[in-house]
Amino acid sequence: MNRTLEVIAGSDLVERPRRSRWPARLDYLQSASGLVLALFMWAHMGFVSSILFGKNALWVVARTFEGYYFFGHRYPVIVSIAAAVVLALVIGHAALAVRKFPINYRQFRTFRGHMAMMRHGDTSLWFAQVVTGFALFFLASVHLYIIMSNPGKIGPYESSFRVWDQHLWPLYLLLLLAVEFHGGIGLYRLSVKWNWFGGSNPDEARHGLKVLKWAITVFFLAIGLATLATFIKIGITAHPIYGERYVPTWQQDALPGHGGQAAPVAGQPATTSQAGGAQ
């Protein structure tokens, strides 16, 4: 009877002689989900920063992920599904990582006191990871939900309107800072936790990893800030045509009167972009 298991588990016991394997699985999954998310963030930064190479570059990247170059039509739902998967990963990782947070004021105060007294780099970095991780519960969720629920609205103008006219730039600025510090510190910690690159001299390797970690953080922060600034700039200059979709230069020439069909969305009548936009 299932009730038997409930009663045993409810009494904080298990119906077998050996210890549960779940703590091992949870530890592994926390590291694995963090690794996947951190690597995704690097790739994500690569895609988003394509705006630095011009509006057309971002347009091509965005359409690629909507399957335009594979199917001949845009399927923005692909991006929504991807965002949902990432959101699920974020929630899963948060659930696993929150086990390590200081769980009450006594633990919080003890750790803060320990950190201030020790002045030990990796100990302080862990606290930065807790703070940024906590911030990401909210920042990443908002961002992912917006991307998920606005299919097809990723593009040089579309994204810029979101950043500037829809006032999301403060959220993106905080998100950028939180992600880059959290992910960078997390990857460094994963390397030392599992001794991935230890080699014959783990202390030297750790020092190298730390230097690399900071270099990568600075690199991605620089790219991220430049990207955000570019979106803000486009958002400000394109403000008068708020709501209009971006049409890549090679399609603009082919279209009469500067309006016309940009990459069609599958299953929808071709939309017409008009000068002046949908204000």
Binding site: R21, R99, H114, A116, H120, D122, W126, W194, N195
Partner: protein, 245 residues
């Protein structure tokens, strides 16, 4: 002969007697002239001899072997017998190791904690009883393995790694680097017949190896420079492998 000018040291010591209900933790500063090659151990003895016979602190061997004299030097765990005063500034602080039961001033009962840890993790060689035959010559051990074993067996249980661990500070049941290092030590010992399954019973939870958050305070403060980072990673890998076996 040239008169060598010695520094005046200002040593602030955390004083507190938990036995006395009137006692409140406070800092007391002692001024002392530094001597050539002075260790903190020598400085503390001079304070007790000349300035304050009531000051409590522990020591036995004076040579970094017994692990009795660990305390917080400028907030970081260290052995006073190995800490040269010349490596410190003119002013510094001394405080007792946290986590462990405070006896008074700088003296803590690490032994009690270490005994609990040893009993919990069964830190002795588990040989098969029926095979113990004292007349038989011991199995020879590969010198390389013996080296590896002695390297991690150099732990003196001073408690620095526990006091320097953010996890151990927050969660009192955490086994600490000293315990995980011992698991690694007995795991590689061919005389110990325990399997990974048996070790998982001892450290396979969040009070054991999965509680470690890799802050590496332990590794960085260990006065014996034990390779604690790699030892914990080794135990973690072995124990995680159990989840998929």
């Amino acid at each position: 002969m040239n008169e060598v000018k010695h520094r005046k040291l200002k040593i602030s010591v955390l004083r507190y007697n938990p036995q006395d209900p009137e006692s409140v933790p406070h800092m007391q500063t002692y001024e002392l002239e530094e001597a050539d090659g002075m260790t903190l151990f020598i400085a503390l003895n001079e304070i007790r001899e000349k300035l304050d016979p009531s000051l409590q602190f522990d020591y036995v061997c004076r040579a970094g072997i017994c692990g009795s004299c660990a305390m917080l030097v400028n907030g970081r765990p260290a052995l006073t017998c190995r800490q040269l005063t010349k490596d410190l500034g003119d002013e510094f602080t001394l405080a007792p190791l946290p986590v462990f039961e405070l006896i008074g001033d700088l003296s803590v009962n690490t032994g009690k904690w270490m005994r609990g840890m040893s009993e919990r993790l069964e830190t002795w060689v588990h040989a098969k009883e029926q095979e113990i035959d004292l007349r038989r010559i011991e199995e020879p051990m590969d010198p390389e393995l013996a080296e590896k074993l002695y390297e991690v067996d150099r732990c003196i249980e001073c408690g620095c790694c526990v006091a320097g661990c953010g996890t151990a500070r927050m969660r009192e049941d955490f086994v600490g680097a000293v315990g995980l290092n011992k698991i690694a030590r007995f795991k590689i010992d061919p005389r110990d017949t325990r399997s990974d399954d048996d070790f998982y019973e001892l450290v396979g939870d969040d009070d054991g190896v999965f509680g470690c958050m890799s802050l590496l305070g332990c590794h960085d403060v260990c006065p014996k420079q034990l390779p604690l980072q790699t030892q914990i990673a080794y135990v973690r890998r072995k124990m995680v492998a159990m989840a998929f076996s």
